[in-house]
């Protein structure tokens, strides 16, 4: 008897109460309870606690809750609508137009010192990708013709490859091709020494090579926001991005749906999302302009994304690139 009391099955009474023990274990505890008043009392307390929890009142569902969900679903559908209905045909149209334009650019490139204005198809493509972005915060090196553009057009063949890459890059059909094109641009670019760059890149960007100005901007952004050393590359922000350096994580039920959600989220703040260059499984890179970072971070946090980079310096013109690891929940539903 005293032996039984010495080994009170406290940690098993809960499962005993729920009838979740194996038969042998249950029999063992039955025997113990028959001889232990303390454990009988403990079990009675747990039973009362259990009943009380079941009886605890819950506030009623607000009458407008169902309607509120319906409105949120409507909004979610609106966000996704352009992707399904307009993206494919517009992308095809833009690609066809760009191919034609590319032929013209190449032909003129050997004769004329200046590049033509940005093609309409590409502008449309950029507009689509940026969607509701704050265009004023995303200045682009466009006509009138700048010194850098003239320099680019007159540059040796390797430099003209870079310009062709920039024209073609936004029209790639997938993000991997985007990354390859971007790498080509970076390799073909000849950044000026940092010491030779002016201190205010926004004011002087049209006077210098665009990549160099943006690189310096991104470096300063990185330092201001405590990010890792900035990298530069052309992207749909119409600017450059600084690598957040941190890896955020997102545990989700459905990774495929999460990626769609992330795409919509990024587009909604004027950015974009894509697989990282390394093609790491399950991760995604989001490029967001500083003006949209707060909204992005708020909505991302609301979805359960953790480990996002700190808010960037608003004065910078460079975008933030944040990598997010999308992790399927273990033993996910269905």
């Amino acid at each position: 008897m005293s032996d039984a009391r010495d080994r009170h099955p406290d940690d098993r009474l809960s499962a005993y109460l729920d009838d979740e023990l194996e038969a042998a274990e249950r029999t063992e505890i039955d025997r113990h309870l028959a001889s232990c008043a303390r454990c009988r009392g403990e079990l009675a307390s747990l039973r009362r606690l259990s009943r009380s929890l079941a009886e605890e009142s819950v506030p009623p569902v607000p009458p407008d809750m169902t309607q509120r969900v319906a409105s949120a679903l409507d909004a979610a559908a609106v966000v996704r609508l352009p992707r399904r209905t307009f993206m494919v045909p517009l992308t095809i149209a833009a690609t066809v137009a760009a191919v034609g334009l590319l032929v013209i650019v190449r032909w003129q490139g050997s004769r004329a010192p200046a590049l033509p204005p940005m093609p309409r198809a590409e502008r449309e493509h950029e507009d689509r990708r940026a969607q509701a972005s704050d265009a004023s915060s995303l200045p682009e090196p466009k006509p009138p013709v700048t010194k850098s553009e003239a320099h680019a057009a007159a540059a040796p063949p390797s430099r003209r490859v870079s310009e062709r890459g920039e024209l073609v890059e936004p029209l790639q059909k997938n993000a991997r091709a985007d990354a390859v094109a971007r790498d080509e641009v970076l390799k073909a670019s000849v950044p000026a020494p940092a010491a030779a760059l002016p201190e205010t890149p926004r004011a002087s960007a049209k006077e210098i090579a665009p990549q160099s100005a943006a690189e310096m901007t991104a470096d300063r952004l990185g330092a201001a926001a405590g990010l890792s050393r900035a990298k530069v590359a052309p992207d749909s922000c119409g600017e450059r991005w600084a690598d957040a350096g941190s890896l955020a994580t997102w545990d989700v039920e459905d990774p495929a749906a999460a990626i769609l959600d992330l795409d919509a989220l990024a587009r909604g703040v004027g950015g974009r999302s894509e697989p990282p260059e390394a093609q790491a499984d399950g991760s995604r890179s989001v490029v967001v302009p500083p003006s949209g970072w707060d909204a992005f971070a708020r909505d991302a946090a609301a979805r359960g994304i953790v480990g996002l980079a700190p808010a960037p310096d608003r004065s910078s013109t460079a975008c933030i690139r944040q990598r997010i690891e999308i992790r399927p929940l273990r033993g996910g539903p269905s």
């Binding site: 729920d18 009380s52 809750m65 309607q67 509120r68 679903l73 459905d254 033993g331």
Partner: protein, 195 residues
């Protein structure tokens, strides 16, 4: 919701049919599922976050996430299990985002439990119902949200351990030990009286 009038196959009463139709893009079928599951989802979320406004947000997130993720639902598990898992995950994430970390850092439930071990503790069986419910509500606030989740699914939803494990994505043994610890802590807190 905006239009509850049955339309074609969306009038189907069977939940499997509604799920199948919703997966195919039938919004009205999904609206019917929302109506059907609103109350249990609301109750589960409230028991975890314990704040009306937060519950509204999480419930909305839950159904939007479910709608967006519906294509990934293969039907191996019950729709309600799948939906509850989304709700619980959202609720826990929401709670984690707020002050849960701070609360857990100070371990108030442990403090209350220690008080219960002192001489002033009132045995649970001796408490009046009204006082018991008052203490219970206060102590649940102090409990880690992950423990509240397992209690909600067991005590309120009356789910067995297997189903709870599926919803929370836990091993069966973890469900068992978590429930045991949650109940023991809650009991000690109630008997000691919350801070």
């Amino acid at each position: 919701m905006t239009d509850t009038k049955p339309l074609g196959a969306a009038a189907a009463e069977d939940e499997d049919d509604l799920v199948r139709l919703a997966r195919g893009g039938d919004r009205r079928a999904f609206d019917r599922l929302v109506t059907t599951h609103m109350k249990p989802v609301w109750a589960t979320v409230w028991r975890i976050v314990r704040d009306r406004s937060d519950t509204e947000d999480v419930v909305q997130e839950t159904f939007v996430t479910a709608y967006r993720s519906l294509r990934g639902f293969r039907g191996d598990a019950k729709f309600s299990t799948w939906l509850h898992r989304i709700a619980v995950t959202r609720a826990l994430n929401h709670r984690e985002r707020s002050e849960e970390k701070l609360r857990r850092a100070s371990d108030p439930i442990e403090v209350a439990a220690e008080r219960a071990a002192g001489t002033g503790a009132s045995p649970l069986h001796a408490l009046e119902s009204k006082e018991l419910m008052r203490r219970l509500a206060a102590c649940l606030e102090l409990l880690p949200a992950a423990w509240r989740a397992v209690l909600a699914l067991r005590e309120a939803e009356d789910l067995d351990y297997q189903r709870i494990a599926e919803i929370l994505g836990l091993e069966l043994g973890t469900v068992r030990s978590r429930l045991s610890r949650a109940r023991a802590s809650l009991k000690a807190c109630v008997e000691g009286g919350p801070a």
